[in-house]
Amino acid sequence: MRIRNFTRALSYFLTIFFFPFLLDAQNFTISGYIKDGRTDETLIGATVSSKDNPSVGTVSNNYGFYSLTTSKGKYTLIFSYIGYQNKEVIVDLSANQSLNASLSDGLSLQEIVVTAREKEQNVQGTQMGTVALSIESVKKLPALAGEVDILKTLQLLPGVKGNEGQAGFYVRGGGPDQNLVLLDEAVVYNPGHLLGFFSVFNSDAIKNTTLIKGAMPAQYGGRLSSVVDIQMKEGNNKEYGVEGGIGLIASRLTVEGPIEKDKSSFIFSARRTYALDLAQPFINQTKFAGSNYYFYDLNAKINYKLSEKDRFYLSGYFGRDVFAFVSKEQGFNFNLPYGNATASLRWNHVFDQKLFMNVSGIYNDYDFTAGGGQGDFVFKAFSGIRDWNAKADFDYYPDYRNSIKFGVNYTYHRLTPNIISATNGDQTFSNNLSPQFAHESAIYVGDDFKASKALSFNIGLRGALFNQLGPYTSTITGKVYATNEVVKTYPALEPRLAVKYSFDRENSVKASIAYTTQFLHLVSNSTSTLPADVWVPSSELVQPQTGVQYSTGYFKNLKDNMYETSIEVYYRDLNHQIDYPDNYVFGDKPLVEQSFVYGKGRAYGVELFIKKAKGNLTGWIGYTLSRTERQFPDIENGRVYPATYDRTHDLSVVANYRLSRKWEMGGAFVFATGNAFTPIKDLFLIEQKLNVEYAPRNSSRYEPYHRLDLAATYTPHPGSVKKFQSTWTFSVYNSYNRLNPYFIYYDVQNNLEKGTAKATAYQVTLFPLIPSVTWNFKWRQKKPAAIEKNPTF
């Protein structure tokens, strides 16, 4: 019923607000691309607006394209982007025109404040719960073992929670599978390396990251909680460059440059760990010779500008973790390769200055294999997910008040459950499972609409359809479905609405509501997400997860946008949540979904955020007070319990201070309520051995988690005009060596011969104090101009 009313309201808005502008013949359009002046990299989310009337303005899309339609007249347009010098252009809008704006990334030697206007986005933008992080600001922060990690930085923002040693993160009470992680529009199903200690995103290849934790706009779907939209760099279109770094555990190398100047460019970036490679000579002398672990990432992208109206992008990511364990004495070997591969081919076309189209063909794959054996016994387990995705997205800018997005999206999913096979000499065992298949389609329309100077809406509707397909044999009825025969269909209608009212340029209130549906599920039977966890489709056995989020907030900028502050409150209802019962045994039933139990969840909280965006000292303080609960009829008869990642208090303090031209200091302090865990209740004897009886789920807490990381970046020759430049980053992770709990386990030692037993609990800490040093270098074909970066976040 609510959805129906919402749909009616949507059509009302579309009719009332679009038509007057569509019919207005006195409007003209200026459009083009906003770029980095030195590299020609397009700038995402850059603003362009009239100096006299800032509400006449727009924002560049994910491809750096902007289009501004307004009435005839003379305008001084200001192009601005975080960390870049504003550019003012006087235009006489008496006809449609194209204008590409190139911005300089920094200050000329005379200091001027350059980022003010762009900074108002947090107050003036309609969308709430959205944070864009430039990779430059991420690189200034301390990182574990010196490995800059975009996902770990996101976890320093209010409402985003992570756990040490995990790539999975939790947004406003949602599970780690409820985040849509996109790399150049391709879904990344497992964003973690080394069981999640590091993320798969190589910072050198990344241009921009946007996190949407509030109401996601209609172009995004398929997940309940959040969107992390990551764009790879396109490659310098003007000159060749090489950059890289040598760190404690990994090294990076990136090469970029023009293929055909101003027309096409490429970037290729690689990263690989080598800690255990270096140790190979020693390992080979032990009984574990042949054992190794490493991971690597390859990012590659080329783009080609066919004309001003047509551009092509081909990008790919390939990353793998490889773990091999060999014990010659026991004749035992174990291999664990897994990883993601994505490829995106995209075509941008500008139909006319108001209509921008992007057509994408995307392939992505995540696969996990575990294999090994001892003597005659050989086993292999395989699981994975593979998508073929085609989509068309349109950005339509009928006038400066409306920025309309619409599009269609289709994905063919192939989900491989845990297929296990084993041979023991001449005998073969298999669980005889087959992949599952599904169509996922969506159509959406959304408008970012400025009703007046003060009031704006982002209104959207997304319709989605999910079909489980054959070949499939029903585990309920036994019916056999042929290839592509529909087994089960789930439709979904997802309205989204965000409203902003600004009192002035520096004060606004916002509210939003979003319905979301999720058709693919990753259910983990552990306290962390694991590479072996299997994505499961909605099917005759599993209903889609649904959720609704209500949020509201007050946003205020102070002191000419030097400080950005906000307070946001959210409430979420989550339905058809999935978990394992607490006596689940892996492999108990052929399909994991046959063991699932279903329930609901709710989450609510308040998030405070204060950011200092300019000056020698920059950074932020984020604090979240929240509650996340789950309730499953089949878990303790429906007792409401806190989710594992329920965290009452969560505080992050992030600071960066420019001490001198040569030294920059960074620090991050986090404090969080300890995770909920299920403690031991009793011991009992069976077969004269002690066993443990657990208390109710998540009924106890670890000690609070806190940690201070520090970093110092040393630039030996600041302002150097040499082609080759380098910096040193020294960082200390967990600087006061806090022994944070990673997990607790119980060791029960039974000695039947002596008739004794002993039970002890241990708390394990993952990372104590870890110092690291990283050397980063940059080589450019041409000498850079003598400029200096403006310290901004």
Binding site: L195, G331, N525, Y584, V585, G755, V764, L766
Partner: protein, 312 residues
């Protein structure tokens, strides 16, 4: 647990450290723990039930501490007969009976001190005989606590044969052998569940860390599996764990069990082994019904096989 130790070793060499953790007391009442079995085999033992109490988390335990529940009323019945089990305690037995009982219940006579006591409720009349394919009902009453359970014993699956081969891999140890056990999984039942125990020489039967399996992967097939010796080797070396000494007498006890009985062992064994950040706690699935009690009432359809490990 082994997995955790490996992981700790792996992480520990690089980063991690651990410290003892003192858990909060979460227990305010002791529950009755039922452990009862009824066996059908060529050398069937009387049905028996051991009643103990749950113990709050503590550090040391030894056989002189008494956790046994005395004075309970315990009945076992099938669809025809019912029998009240008799409570017998260790201290009541003469030394010959003690030896038989020790073998039956897996008690090491060398280690038990003078304070040791052990009580069991047994069907000394053997009125209810263990028969293949029948269901047996248990009721336990102690004060206001009433517990019950039902178990079914499936058909017996005999051990077809046993072979001993050289230890796997590069293990050149010629004093030890790996046992391979053969049996034919029945086709007439859609699912069959097994528990395997082994004995060495005069020692009682003992189960390893993972003692149960279902026939999901080998339904209706002839199965060969490596049976790992549940007894630790005489020298504590990982590479010879699970192997048998040549010249020893090795016995296999292959038990057919019902689903609930399988679930109990399957969850109990994970309960001990499945911990840490890469696993979740596992709550044991008991088949005992009633407030104030946990445990198992399990039927076994037992097949035995004994062989001497060849010296060459």
């Amino acid at each position: 647990m082994k997995l955790i130790r490996y992981l700790l070793f792996l992480c520990g060499t690089i980063f991690s450290c651990q410290q003892e953790f003192i858990p909060a007391i979460n227990s305010n009442q002791n529950q009755i723990v039922v452990e009862g079995y009824i066996e059908a085999s060529e050398r069937a033992t009387p049905a028996y039930v051991i009643l103990t109490r749950t113990i709050p988390f503590f550090h040391e335990f030894n056989t002189s501490q008494n956790f046994f529940v005395s004075g309970a009323t315990v009945y076992v019945s099938n669809d025809q007969d019912s029998v009240r089990l008799t409570e017998i305690c260790w201290t009541d037995l003469d030394s010959a009976t003690k030896k038989t009982a020790a073998n039956l219940f897996g008690i090491n006579l060398d280690s038990v001190g003078s304070k040791f006591n052990f009580c069991v409720y047994a069907d000394i009349s053997q009125k209810i005989k263990g028969e293949y394919g029948r269901s047996y009902h248990l009721t336990v009453r102690k004060d206001t606590t009433l517990l019950s359970a039902t178990t079914t014993r499936p058909q017996k699956v005999p051990v077809d044969s046993v072979r001993f081969i050289k230890p796997p891999g590069g293990n050149k140890n010629d004093t030890m052998a790996q046992m391979q056990c053969y049996f034919n999984d029945p086709t007439e039942l859609s699912a069959y569940y097994y528990r395997v125990l082994n004995a060495v020489n005069e020692k009682p039967y003992k189960a390893g860390s993972f003692s149960v399996v279902d026939d999901q992967f080998f339904h209706g097939q002839t199965v060969k599996f490596n049976l790992f010796n549940a007894y630790k080797p005489r020298v504590d070396k990982t590479e010879i764990q699970g192997l048998f000494y040549r010249g020893d007498t090795a016995s296999v006890k292959l038990c057919g069990i019902d689903r609930a009985h399988f679930d109990f062992w399957n969850t109990l064994e994970l309960n001990a082994n499945n911990q840490g950040p890469f696993a979740s706690y596992t709550r044991v699935k008991y088949n005992i019904v009633g407030n104030g009690g946990i445990g198992i009432w399990g039927g076994y359809a037992v097949a035995y096989y004994t062989a001497v490990v060849p010296t060459k």
